[in-house]
């Protein structure tokens, strides 16, 4: 499990970008989606998730805005930018290449 989470952690930003491709979202929703997709095998630590948001934001790959929830606390939503889409495509291609290489090597 350790190797798996190490590899996954390296792709945190791409995982977030992938989720935001479909629609704007917020921290917990993204993490919940990750849990559901992996059938509870993987979940990001909040510290990892939110520092990834900050990095993506300062790189201009995502932008954030506060929601206007009528009840309860406000949520901070994230939205992918065109730069973010480009970064996602690039990262995805890089991952495809890496997958092929690793398959031949291991």
């Amino acid at each position: 499990m350790n190797i798996t989470s190490d590899i996954l952690r390296g792709h945190t930003e791409t995982i977030i970008l992938k989720h935001l491709l479909a629609n704007d979202s917020y921290g917990y929703e993204i993490n919940k989606a990750i849990q559901e997709k992996t059938e509870n095998q993987y979940e990001l630590k909040e510290a990892t998730l939110y520092s990834a948001f900050r990095r993506l934001e300062s790189a201009g790959h995502i932008v954030s805005y506060w929601g206007d929830e009528q009840t309860g606390a406000r949520r901070r939503y994230y939205s992918i930018t065109n730069e973010g889409r480009a970064a996602y495509d690039k990262n995805r291609n890089a991952w495809e290449d890496a997958k092929l290489l690793i398959d031949t090597l291991i």
Partner: protein, 222 residues
């Protein structure tokens, strides 16, 4: 809303400067963690179980807080900036000193006072322009971080700059008034009542200052 989660996060952010960024970061974390907590309760966990689960999922928050503590470098005016600033001020002072000479030279040598006066005011205008440019082009106080103290320093630095700009304009204005006073008095011999120009000048100055303050005040508070 679970108060324990709020307390936990506030503790973790204790050493972080209270900037807009860090406060929003905390708010975001608290909202999302509470939602997770509520889901756990809804799934049948006890409050303690849910809290433990939420907290253990947070991970190492120093990853986040360190990014907020990071400071930007304070930029001081470079040697070149200081040199050009000194040059501007020197030229401006020189122009001020030379300006009355224009009147003397033109009236004594060519008997054309009007040209002398026009040249004098042109020189004063150029000199004042240089001073104004110099004060405005000087680098402002650059934020080190967005704390209240930094905001106060920035506000104070803006205030000081306004003050030196005001002083420069004021001295130029009063010098101009003095020259008009001397010129008019000497040429026409109105010594008896020409001193009133100083009272008028100070009234004009105060009116301008009042208008300026008013405009700025209404700009600051829309």
């Amino acid at each position: 809303m679970n108060a324990k989660i709020r307390t936990y996060i506030s503790r973790a952010f204790e050493d972080v400067p209270k900037t807009k960024k860090s406060i929003e970061m905390q708010e975001e974390l608290i909202t999302n963690l509470n939602e997770k907590y509520d889901d756990q309760i809804a799934a049948g966990k006890t409050e303690d179980e849910a809290f433990t689960l939420v907290v253990s999922g947070i991970g190492d928050l120093s990853e986040l807080t360190e990014g907020l503590i990071e400071r930007h470098v304070l930029s001081a005016p470079s040697l070149q900036q200081r040199k050009s600033s000194a040059l501007f001020i020197t030229i401006a002072v020189m122009l001020y000193i030379m300006s009355p000479m224009m009147v003397i030279i033109w009236s004594e040598l060519f008997n054309k006072e009007v040209i002398g006066v026009i040249l004098m005011f042109t020189l004063i205008a150029i000199a004042t322009g240089l001073l104004v440019y110099n004060f405005n082009s000087r680098p402002k106080y650059i934020k080190e971080s967005e704390t209240m103290i930094e905001e106060f320093k920035e506000w104070k630095s803006a205030k000081d700059k306004n003050k030196s700009l005001f002083d420069a304009l004021n001295s130029a204005f009063m010098l101009g008034v003095l020259i008009i006073y001397l010129y008019v008095s000497i040429t026409y011999g109105w010594w008896l009542f020409s001193w009133i120009i100083f009272i008028i000048a100070s009234a004009i100055k105060n009116i301008f200052k009042a208008i300026y303050d008013l405009v700025r005040y209404s700009n600051e508070r829309p």
